[in-house]
C-alpha cells in the first residue's frame, strides 16, 4: 500500500497511527502542502479535493478522507480493532472523532487559514481563529469523555478517538492553545504517546519533516 501524506498534516498523522496500530507497512509518498504539491494535476487525479491523505491499496484502489481510510483499514484488517464491538459505544467513539475530524480540523487547516489571509486578516487574527477552533473542539471532547474511566478515550486499548486526539492536540499547541484546560485529554495523550504506534507516527519522525 501507498500513503500519500504530509508530515505535518494531522489527517495524515491519524492514518499513520492507524497503520502502525495494525502493524501495516506502507510506502509513504510526501506531498509538500506549503509548496502546493497537492494541487499537482497528477495528484488531483486521485484526490479531487487536493487534500492529504490518500491511500492506494495493492490493487491500485484509491481511498480518500482519513476517517474513511481508517474505517476501511479496520474492516479489512480487523486486529486490533479501532472501534468497540457495541453499537452505542462505536457511536460514542465516532462522535468524538468527528468533533475533531469534522468540526475542528477542517476549520483550521492550511487552506482555510490561507483564505482568511486573502480576506485581509492579520497573522494574529488567523492564529486566534485557529486557536479558537481547536479550543472549541477539544473542550467538547474533554466533556464527551468526562465519564470515562479507562486509560484511553474509550477503553483500555487505543482506537479511533485516540488517533484523532493526539494529532489535534499537536495542532492546538502550534496555535498557542493552553491545553492544560483539558486534563483528561492530556492524560490519554501521555499514555498514547508512550506507544511506538503513536510515537513513530509523529510529524517530526517522518522523512519529509523539516
Amino acid at each position: 500500500m501507498k500513503l500519500h501524506g504530509y508530515f505535518r498534516s494531522s489527517a495524515s498523522y491519524r492514518v499513520r497511527i492507524a497503520l502502525n496500530l495494525k502493524g501495516l507497512r506502507v510506502e509513504h509518498l510526501a506531498h509538500h502542502l506549503r509548496r502546493g504539491e497537492q494541487r499537482d494535476p497528477s495528484y488531483l487525479a486521485i484526490n479531487p479535493q487536493g487534500l492529504v491523505p490518500t491511500l492506494q491499496d495493492d490493487s491500485g484502489a484509491i481511498i480518500t478522507q482519513s476517517l474513511a481510510i481508517i474505517e476501511w483499514l479496520d474492516e479489512t484488517h480487523p486486529e486490533p480493532p479501532l472501534l468497540p464491538p457495541d453499537a452505542l459505544r462505536r457511536a460514542k467513539v465516532r462522535a468524538f472523532a468527528e468533533v475533531l475530524a469534522c468540526d475542528t480540523h477542517p476549520v483550521q487547516n492550511l487552506k482555510i487559514l490561507a483564505r482568511l489571509r486573502e480576506l485581509g486578516l492579520k497573522e494574529d487574527q488567523v492564529t486566534a481563529w485557529a486557536g479558537w477552533a481547536n479550543r472549541e473542539g477539544l473542550a467538547a471532547c474533554e466533556k464527551l469523555i468526562a465519564g470515562e474511566q479507562a486509560r484511553f478515550c474509550f477503553g483500555d486499548a487505543p482506537g479511533l478517538a485516540d488517533l484523532c486526539l493526539v494529532p489535534q492536540l499537536a495542532n492546538a499547541r502550534r496555535f498557542g492553545v493552553d491545553v492544560n484546560a483539558f486534563p483528561r485529554l492530556l492524560k490519554v495523550e501521555a499514555v498514547a504517546k508512550a506507544l511506538p504506534a503513536f510515537a513513530d507516527a509523529a510529524p517530526d519522525k517522518q522523512p519529509d519533516a523539516e
Copy 2:
C-alpha cells in the same frame, strides 16, 4: 427515539432522511439556532458542542454528530442498508460523505459565518466564503462519482452519500452557488427528491420551519 434538530440544519436534515429511509418515527425537538437555543445549558448537557443534531434512543442514550448517528442507525436497524456490503465501496461512500460532512458543511455553518462577521467581514464576503466552501466540496463530489453509472451516487438505492448530498445542494443554492456546474450531482438529487424519505425530510416540511 427523540431527535434534537433544527429545520434548516443540514446535519439534522441528513439524519431525518436516514430515519425516513429506515422507516423510523421519532419525536422531533426543535432548537432554534438563530435564537441561540442550542447554547441553553440543558442542551449543552447532552451536546457539549451546542450543535444539532443529537439523537436520544429509547433507553435515554445520547448520540451526537450526524455521521455517527447515521452509522449507529445503520448498525442497529440494518434494513435498508445505507452502506454497501463491500469494504472498498463502503470507503468510497464514506469518503464522499466526509467531503461534505467534514470539509464543506462545518466550514460554512452558522457558527463559522457568525465568527467571520465578528472579524469584520461584510455580508457579501461572508456569502462568498460560504459559496466558495460549497463549490469546492461539490466540485470534488462531482468528480468522485464521475465513473459511477447508477441512479444514486453509488448504486441504485439511496444511502449515506445521497443523504449528505441533498442537504448540501440546498445550502449551496442558499449561498448563490451555480449548481448547474454539477450535472451528475443534480441528476442524483432529482431521483432522491422524488422519494418520500427525502421529500418529507426537507427543511420546509418541518414543524419548526419559518
